[in-house]
Symmetry: C2
Subunit: 218 residues, 2 copies
DNA sequence: CCTAAACGGAGGCGAGGTCTCAAGTTCCAT
DNA sequence: ATGGAACTTGAGACCTCGCCTCCGTTTAGG
């Protein structure tokens, strides 16, 4: 039951090769099917026995943490980059857009960001570094008179939750669909605008719609 | 294993009393905790043995159908009522608002509307009567020049899914919160508007926010 | 070539649900 | 009042499904 965390001495060559395979398999499966995939599935995808997975990672949470801590830091990075934009509104829009895109591309990331339970500790902590940055982005855009002033700090994460759920439903069928609804939301957030911003992409066709609604689990 | 559907001859007095109790208990539990509550829980809440539940309803799906067919028809009713409004935009807004409110008040209804699997057949069918009505509402509001013209037919149900997920997260903590985000979305849908519509209600406070994010399951 | 390290995957375990059944109880038509 | 059909019960059979362990076997590499 000895788990070799980082600095324990280099792994044997085959062990290291398998560790990498496991991580890759987990990344792929979590992205496509969410954090609920079983470790048996991950092991199978990695071409390895379950036992091998448990030799490397104490339990499922440890594996999730190993994968998503960095991934969530990436979202935080997007926020910091957005704070450097010259135009506060453009920065805010960029952050909303990028963070939704990341969620649309990776179901596991979406779940790590919006639900508790799975992938505890470090991920939760990392996630909480995003909040202050998002709030700062919001305040800046409000101060410049471009973002509606009555928006509160906690409205932002809920908008992300909301758009994330659309991204979730349409990910497999039309991965960029969420941008349409994001455009609508942003138009609703702008203080002043003449005509509606044209919706990007195309609406779903009947089959895509049916597929999006059918494939949902939760 | 004989299941007495409607016209089988009146139930015995005690049996009828229990049937009503079961339905009431199921309604309450589904509304509060979603369609995943176990029938054991429903039976307990009804003050009845599980066996009694299975005497009345072939299986869980039958119970769900019995409850939600009517409930979904109610949503369709709101759509029809909205079609009679003089102002097309007002009608569209009313429908969006009412249907979100119903979803916010009843988690089971939200699940019946937005996911497949549980509560199959008749519910799915009933749901599909809503779509054409929603589309009609949309077309009418577009024709009057008040709703953005580039909205497609299937954008509407996805907006409902999206707002429903917020309603879901905040239901227990601030049941009317979703109206804020609905207001934003509607502002984004309007062709012309001067200032942003003031957001109704209040933003979440930190505890409410934490609770909303923590309690999520899916 | 020898040994510590790593591997595999059947299966133990527990949670959590659906549904059944045999034994006891209640209603109500006669 | 009474006989018997209808009804009730809830323990538990049974299933699914995921996490994780265990130990006989294989393998890297000094």
């Amino acid at each position: 039951m000895t788990i070799h965390t980082v600095s324990d001495r280099p792994l044997r060559a085959d062990a290291e090769r398998n560790r990498v395979r496991i991580l890759a398999a987990a990344r792929e499966l979590f992205a496509a099917r969410g954090l609920d995939v079983s470790l048996d599935d991950v092991a199978a995808q990695a071409g390895v026995g379950v036992g091998t997975v448990y030799r490397r990672f104490a339990d499922k949470d440890a594996l999730i943490e190993a994968l998503f801590e960095a991934r969530i830091a990436e979202v935080a990075g997007e926020a910091r980059k957005a704070l450097e934009a010259d135009d506060p509104w453009a920065g805010f829009v960029a952050f909303m857009s990028r963070s939704c895109a990341l969620q649309a591309a990776d179901r596991g990331l979406k779940e790590a960001l919006t639900t508790r339970g799975r992938g505890r500790e470090r991920v939760a902590q990392a996630r909480e570094t995003i909040a202050p940055l998002a709030i700062q982005l919001m305040r800046r855009a409000q101060a410049s008179g471009q973002l509606r002033a009555d928006l509160g700090p906690f409205d932002v994460p809920l908008m992300q939750l909301m758009l994330g759920s659309v991204a979730d439903a349409t990910r497999e069928v039309a991965p960029e669909y969420f941008e349409r609804l994001l455009t609508i939301v942003l138009d609703g957030l702008a203080v002043r605008r003449e005509a509606p911003t044209p919706l990007p992409g195309t609406a779903l066709d009947p089959e895509q719609f049916a597929a999006a609604m059918t494939r949902r689990r939760c």
